[in-house]
Symmetry: C2
Subunit: 337 residues, 2 copies
DNA sequence: CTGAAAGCGCTTACAG
DNA sequence: CTGAAAGCGCTTACAG
């Protein structure tokens, strides 16, 4: 492997200065057309490849947006990342994706790496373990724009894009009630997650408005968002003296798990039990019964987050207005309710 | 946002040289313990954060592995990425994830960016559009180790980790035959993808061995790996005079789509039609009927790819033996066959 | 064990 | 429009 070609090599061949080469390569306006052509041609001939590290180091711009999500393994996140990329690539930005694996320590490490790699901005969705937000606070202090996506926090000087959880949960709970359900349970993730708590509120509000009692033992928290866990939650609920006749799941993946276990227990859906999800999982449409869900526009949410961070990068710190975008999910009624 | 602290600032405060600070920070052996402690303490006090760009530029190591996959939105890939991360993080490497979106142009662009960002190695899974492999060839020439994962190509001086497609397809087709199926169809992606072609071979071989005829019109190619497309493929098959009684799907996602459409068409599974998948999708276990599949150990495949690239990075070009790892998938028999 | 100095490969005012 | 020069923030032989 030969030593890589640098602008110095090109400059020498062409008998011009490296400044000229640099300007030609970046399409600077202050350069003669012929010189530019000559440089470009020579660069191609010599198989030149710019060193982005050097370029970012001196220009103090990386044209990279860092994204950190709990996992890329779920539709909501992979799809919002596609939305982010869609906007970013159009503007000539690259997107670096990292997953925290729901680990606080890893999240801190990633954010630190991202900041130290001088990315131009960071879009973050917190891990479920994250209670302390000092790491992003610091990054913001260091002048790097941050946008919080979906899993946000309070009192941060950063824009956020998230779902209208309370309203969404209210709407879908109301739907279950309108289907004649009286004993509606709620299977969710850790209530320490803001989203889980907010949806709980909406759920409670809908019950209250309909004059239905709120039963604390109808709220089952699961540790992880996995099929199995929803199944266990259902088994627990099904052991109770008054079995639920409707279940609101925090995420589609939990609804799928619930339905699967319901099958095994011989529970008829939706006759005996209505099951509703929340999310934006394509899969929920293709299993049977197809799942009623509050669809979150994850792609568009990603796009919005990208737009905001691009704006903030453009302003480079000055007067940057913090935006809070609460996105309404949309109810999609299918066979499971 | 204040100007970031550099090693120069620390050096001045401590009245030592920047070389000393640098050595202390990186835990070099040739430094006095007290000096090191003093530097570390001061760094903390001044809230110092290293500039990774500068560090990589001068050390010519980035401690970053670039990964490019067609999409992160499918279980096989997101899970193999988790495997890659699992190994990489242990060795102090970060993983930068990029998706090509099955676009050749984007893939080329990403590979170029990765190389220009001087990542230490690249793990790549080709897009379905990729027929020309010059971009990775170039990267290898530039001295950057590349490992191909799952979607590989021939005649490349790079290690590869992929599935034993032919054998896997043979095994599962044989299983369908043993279930008494005589008219087995194959729904796959573009046959230009090596994997699709190799599984076709295994499928054909199993038919042949059982004395069953191969019908070309039983092979349906779909454009994208999406639920809908499998449904359309099934409809096409179901229009034929001799309807299939078994279907092998190239991917679990296609099997899910097939089963969904079968429901709509009133086809009983597995009585009328056996459906088998191929992949490693958790979901296939949780829909009903649960899907029989050839499970690929995606996580372990990612781990292996990471191990290989780490080795090659360690050898830094010299005498690097090219490895070809063909991983056997495992048949998991469930309700759909 | 520590420092002075060169270098990594670019960018960007400043002159001309 | 072009060049000389300083600088981005580190690392690393080379001396001592």
């Amino acid at each position: 492997m030969a030593k890589p070609i640098t602008i110095k090599d090109i400059a020498e061949k062409l008998n011009v200065s490296i400044a000229t080469v640099s300007r030609a390569l970046r399409g600077s306006s202050e350069i003669k057309k012929e010189t530019k052509m000559a440089v470009l041609e020579m660069a191609k001939e010599m198989d030149y490849h710019p060193n982005l590290l050097a370029s970012s180091l001196s220009s103090k711009k990386s044209k990279i947006i860092g994204v950190v999500v709990p996992t890329i393994n779920r539709y909501f996140w992979s799809n919002s990342i596609s939305g982010i990329e869609n906007i970013a690539y159009k503007e000539g930005y690259k997107v670096m994706i990292f997953q925290s694996g729901e680990s606080f320590n890893k999240e801190v490490e990633i954010v630190e790496t991202l900041a130290n790699s001088r990315v131009d901005g960071i879009i973050i969705s917190f891990s479920k373990e994250t209670k302390d937000f000092n790491h992003v606070h610091q990054v913001i202090e260091r002048g790097i724009p941050v946008v919080m996506l979906e899993r946000t926090c309070k009192n941060m000087k950063a824009s956020k894009v998230s779902t209208d959880d309370k309203n969404g949960a209210y709407t879908i709970t109301k739907h279950l009630i309108e289907q004649g359900r009286k004993n509606i349970a709620y299977i969710c993730g850790p209530l320490s997650l803001g989203g889980c708590k907010d949806r709980l509120k909406g759920y409670q509000e809908a019950l209250k408005k309909a004059g239905l009692p709120f039963r604390k033992d109808y709220v089952v928290e699961v540790e992880d968002f996995r099929f199995e866990q929803a199944g266990q939650a259902l088994e627990k609920l099904w052991d109770m003296t008054v079995k639920p006749d409707g279940i609101l799941c925090f995420a589609d993946i939990l609804a799928i798990g619930t339905i699967h276990t319901a099958h095994n227990l011989g529970i008829k859906i939706p006759e005996q039990l209505s099951v509703a999800g929340f999310g934006d999982d394509e899969t929920s449409r293709f299993i049977s019964p197809a799942i009623t869900t509050m669809a979150q526009p994850s792609f568009e949410m990603g796009e919005l987050a990208a737009q905001i961070i691009l704006e903030e990068i453009g302003l480079s710190g000055e007067s940057c207005q913090i935006r809070t975008e609460i996105i309404k999910p949309e109810i999609i009624i299918r066979e499971s309710t």
